[in-house]
């Protein structure tokens, strides 16, 4: 396993952003971590990169425990894990040229001299589809899509084992998004890195991920192979999420059964007792209010769900109110 997260907890003061989450990503695997705002998905990414210190739990990167490593001890490991951010406008230093931005990790880790770096940068820029003359440009001279390509080039130049991508295409227009998604797919196949792809956009996950994990209020409620999750979502929340995302086909969209969730997402300061989703779940019954369902796998291996209603011979349907 390239990444193993075991019972990760991250509390910011009173806010229980991540509250006991386990997942793993294999060699060359793309895991889509899906959730709505406040679900804690970005915090997971920050913990993996150790941009913030986990409260408890364990994170292993390529077999090595990095949960509480000091900044200094973490530094050499930063070759192996890199991040692509959502906003290509604020994540690139405006005073650096593209060549400096992309080449910086090489110099920082002492991997290449300034002269050698030039060649590697040129090769990397070509790989992400940027013309050589872009090297001397500054970020403000580039379009959003081009900037995101620079972000990818910077993240990949050290050939990391793991890339954490936090909403990397959410700020882009559809036509630009398509080319960046194609590029990520190509690069992933060519270079074979593993990827934690964090997003709220289900269609992007369906396109890109091998496996999907769905988060709600700091915990995973369901995970499994992408095709299985989309064909046969088992958790009422996953079912609601999938039913709420409109499809670009008016005939189909207007015939779809939608699951409308009541109320708001509860505060992560004081998450509900029992199942965290019970306050909005159309199927909740007594047990859901008092006992918290464990993430178990009662039906097939590799598709665990945290819901009292999922059993070996029953999958709930949130569209059918009881």
């Amino acid at each position: 396993m390239i990444l193993e997260i075991d019972n990760l907890v991250k509390h910011y003061g009173q806010v229980r952003a991540v509250d006991g989450l386990s997942l793993s990503i294999g060699q060359g695997e793309v895991l889509g971590l899906v959730g709505e705002s406040g679900s804690g998905k970005s915090t997971v990414g920050k913990c993996v990169l150790r941009l913030t210190e986990p409260t408890s739990g364990g994170i292993r990167l390529d077999g090595r425990d990095i949960t509480h490593l000091s900044r200094r001890a973490m530094r050499p490991l930063r070759r192996d894990v890199h991040m692509v951010f959502q906003d290509p406008y604020s994540s690139l230093n405006p005073r650096f040229t593209i060549e400096q931005i992309v080449g910086e990790p090489l110099l920082h880790h002492g991997i290449a001299s300034r002269r050698e770096a030039g060649g590697r940068v040129a090769a990397m820029l070509e790989q992400v589809g940027l013309r050589p003359e872009m090297r001397s440009r500054f970020p403000h001279e580039l379009s959003g899509g081009q900037r995101q390509r620079v972000g990818l080039a910077r993240a990949l130049i050290l050939e990391p084992k793991l890339v954490v991508a936090d909403e990397p295409v959410s700020a882009l227009d559809v036509s630009v998004q398509a080319s960046v998604l194609n590029l990520i797919t190509d690069l992933q196949r060519e270079m074979g890195f593993s990827c934690l792809f964090i997003t709220h956009d289900l269609s992007v996950v369906e396109f890109l991920a091998d496996r999907v994990a769905v988060m709600y209020l700091g915990k995973i409620v369901e995970s499994g192979p992408t095709a299985q999750i989309f064909a046969e979502p088992r958790h009422p929340y996953t079912q609601a999420l999938l039913s709420a995302a409109p499809v670009a086909d008016p005939v189909r969209q207007r015939e779809r059964r939608r699951i409308v969730l009541g109320g708001d997402v509860p505060s992560p300061v004081d998450p509900p007792a029992g199942c965290r989703f019970h306050t909005r779940c159309p199927l909740a019954y007594d047990a859901c209010r008092t006992s918290e369902p464990a993430l178990t796998d009662p039906r097939t291996s590799g598709h665990p769900v945290a819901c009292h209603l999922v059993t070996a011979d029953h999958v709930p349907d949130a569209a059918v109110n009881r």
């Binding site: 709505e36 369906e206 396109f207 670009a248």
Partner: protein, 322 residues
Amino acid sequence: MSLLEITDLTVDFDTEDGLVQAVRGISLELGEGEILALCGESGCGKSVTAMSVPRLLPPDTTRLSGSVKLDGRELTTLPESRMRQIRGKDVSVVFQEPMTSLNPSFTVGYQITEVLRRHEGLSRRAARDRAVELLELVGIPLPARRIKEYPHQLSGGMRQRVMIAIAVACSPRVLIADEPTTALDVTIQAGVLDVFRDLRDRLGTAVILITHDLGVVADIADRAVVMYAGRAVEQAPVTELFARPRHPYTLGLMNALPSAAVNGRLAEIPGMVPSPLTDPDECAFQARCTRAQDDCRRKRPQLEPQQPDDHLAACFHPGGQS
């Protein structure tokens, strides 16, 4: 006669770089109780077109020509004092970001009653009662309690509902919604779109919905206008548009969606949008278009009826089927 008629509207902005031609001659009509989607990517002019109706463009730098008629009355030449009576009463606007459009230092109730007292001359008490009704109308639970709360005490979805409540307080004929659900989670988006549908059904409000999301268009719009580089390139009833997109740009947008992937690849639209500073006499899309021929480079195609004739497209070589 349509409720709203925009004829040959052009909008230029004075900038340091020169005259930015944001809207380059657009004509459209909006019927009573109709939901019309204006769609396209960043910079296509969809928001500028819509904001020309309530005249919410910066007066010092905007050069506007053409005609905007509401119920047959010309709005572009109306004195500002008369326009102020129309804004918020006959035409109102819901913006994308509800947190920045609500005043943080006044209660929700105050912000709704302010509109009612100003435009409808209601007493304090009558305005309060009406505010409670309005919050109920947009699906806010416990409205009598909510009106005493401040914007920061509400979730994003609830704030957007408050914005809609303010916008429809005086039963406007035309409601302009600029990416009203873009900042919201999908499970919340579904509920907010239902509010627009419900307002149209119950009050007959006509809606101009500005969106980049074709899923939202498919879900809620009756008719859609696709814009590119300041012009309408295609316009049709929604089912017809999605079943038989004629303009290569519309088709490109639909095929670029992650859900439209073929064999693990997305169809890209190569190239970039043309500069907003120049407007050569050619099809603005020709440089990116796979169907472009010599005629596309010599002359600009006009928006013309196709089969059926309520389907318009500006293309010399329109596609026939999806």
